[in-house]
Amino acid sequence: MDLPATLLDGVLLGGLYALFAAGLSLIFGVMRLVNIAHGDLILLSAFLALTVTTHFPIHPLLSLLLVVPLMAVLGYGLQRAVFNRTLGNDILPPLLVSFGLSVFLQNALLQIFRADSQRLHAGPLETWHIDLPFGMTMGALPCLMFIVAVLVIGGLQLLLFRTALGRALRAVSDDGQIAQLMGINNAHLYGVAMAISLAVVSVAGVFLGIRANFDPSIGPTRLIFAFEAIIIGGLGDLWGTLAGGVILGVAQTLGARINPGYQILAGHLVFLAILTVRPQGFFPRSR
């Protein structure tokens, strides 16, 4: 494969990683919660979509009509019932609770769906492509993933900076206690933030399932990709997260070009290198 084609693949793959990362970034921004179960929740939504598409003969993308609300409700409930009770000055409780949730989800999925590789079948969408100059081809699916990532991030930005809900979320992010004094119900708002996060997660999960095979064990690696995209981009900036995803995607496809065994390693190494020379990331939110 030619170098320009590899680069294009990497950029488009970055869209998927940005989708992985956007939900994680949002809840960290709002309540400083690092959700270790994030990757397993991505897998949960992929398996939900799989269940929907095996019972009803619909396209996986249409299954989102069901999966997104389900995951959002789950997110709200999870936040109100579990995570809200762990938030405080100590970072340990939320971290360990989400870690326990990660192990629980992973094994629950393993118990229900076994360790077999699964796939969401998206029909002709998987093979459609456009021919570009220099012998490059652009697949419809990666292209769609990237466009959806841009739309999701754009939508989140609009929500955060143009709506009353967004203003409340930013207020809580800046200072939870003062926000509460201004009449904001923090517990509810945290629930809403988690619901939005898991709604984005379900979009990411369905694309993950259409793009490649998946099984219950791959969640933690998705969490790591999401985390790397956020840190490379700079904490707190969603467009930065998209850029971080693109850098990670390009690093991985370039690594895979040298040797398929280097794909994930190359991504990690680029991440650590960037962290070492520029710990604040490329687009840190100005304070």
């Binding site: 409780p93 609770v97 870690f99 326990g100 094994n107 629950a108 985390f227 790397e228 990690h268 070492t276």
Partner: protein
């Protein structure tokens, strides 16, 4: 009669447990003479988890470095053992000791990178670094690459000639490492370093303000923990006689279980990992056959513990019964009707309840 204030560190319970502890270690030293092989194997596993959990507790419970990447040093220790014995012909038991400092050396550049993360981000950052080590060793073909390798027979025979002797030697090494780790942690916590660590645990800003060098203290503990974890990793691979990147750098085996042990047993207390390990092995002996159901249960158990009993079983025992096995806290015995006990474990409290007023004559 002069009434003075006294500071007590040990209690009747801790003195009793000290005697019990020495007897238990004596009994364990003699175990190979009457235990069978499977019992010895199980006991080595228990020693491994006691040591790993105590070290993770020192790291996360005291310095606040919640690492999900300690499997990096387990794996590095294991691979060091294999590399040293296969390439340099070093005797395996010596290699277990040397693997520690090697892992600690790796901890210096690793720490330089992961210490750029704060709090929860440190957790995932350390995990990424452990993944880098796992993926890198999967590319090292002289040590078996992704599928791993076994320890050559002549090296295995170098440990001891008969299987029983070999098992006994590995057993004593495991016992030695567990007792050594506990002793060193105890001595650290009793020293001025322990005071600094406790201060950092209770408030980083306050610790810094009274002259504790947080960064240096944390780095030192990270470095020491990595070295000891490396020794344990070498012992694990010596017991298994086989190594592969996925097993040696397994986040589930060497970090997830360890975190559950510490959370359930009680984080930030030396007793916690001991209680947690015992409970973990009881649960495992009864329910491990259930496979993923068992792991789902462990995950749920940890969540519930964190919500209703965030200080774990050891924390509950200490608060409810003032029970501490290791004399790390301090109790001030006041004249009259007051009894202040402020432990090394956070809250200081003045209690006027049942504890008798102690008066000393001078």
């Amino acid at each position: 009669m002069n009434e003075t204030i006294r500071v007590e560190r040990s209690s009747r319970a801790s003195r009793l447990f000290a005697v019990f502890g020495f007897l238990l270690v004596g009994l364990l030293v003699a175990a190979p003479f009457f235990g069978n092989r499977s019992v010895l194997y199980l006991l080595v596993e228990i020693f491994v988890y006691i040591a790993l959990a105590s070290l993770w507790n020192l790291l996360a419970g005291y310095t606040g470095l919640v690492s999900i990447g300690q499997q990096a040093f387990v794996g590095l220790g294991g691979y060091s053992l294999f590399a040293l014995t296969i390439f340099t012909g070093m005797p395996p038991l010596l290699a277990v000791l040397v693997a520690g400092p090697i892992a600690a050396l790796f901890a210096i550049p690793t720490g330089f990178v992961v210490f750029r993360f704060k709090g929860a981000y440190f957790a995932i950052g350390s995990w990424v670094v452990a993944e880098v080590y796992r993926l890198t060793f999967a590319q090292v073909s002289v040590l078996g690459g992704g599928s791993g390798t076994s320890l050559p027979v002549e090296i295995v025979q170098h440990i001891a000639n008969s299987r029983l002797e070999r098992d006994s030697v590995i057993y004593w090494t495991g016992l030695g490492i567990a007792v050594g780790v506990l002793t060193v942690i105890y001595l650290i916590l009793r020293s001025r370093w322990g005071l600094a660590l406790t201060a950092i645990r209770d408030s980083e800003a306050a610790a810094e303000s009274v002259g504790v060098d947080n960064y240096r203290t944390k780095f030192l503990i990270y470095f020491l923990t990595a070295g000891a974890t490396g020794c344990i990793g070498a012992l694990i691979s010596l017991q298994k006689l086989r190594i592969s990147p996925d097993a040696a750098f397994s986040v589930n085996d060497w970090t997830a279980f360890v975190i559950f042990i510490v959370v359930i047993g009680g984080i930030g207390r030396m007793e916690g990992p001991l209680i947690g390990t015992i409970l973990f092995f009881i649960l495992r002996e009864f329910f491990a056959d259930l496979g993923s159901w068992y792991l789902m249960f462990l995950g749920l158990f940890a969540i519930v513990m964190m919500l209703i009993m965030p200080k774990g079983i050891a924390g509950w025992l200490a608060e409810r019964f003032e029970l501490q096995i290791f004399p790390l806290g301090r109790r001030i015995i006041l004249p009259r009707d007051k009894h202040i006990s402020f432990s090394q474990f956070g809250t200081s409290a003045i209690s006027k309840k049942r504890s008798p007023t102690k008066i000393t004559d001078d």
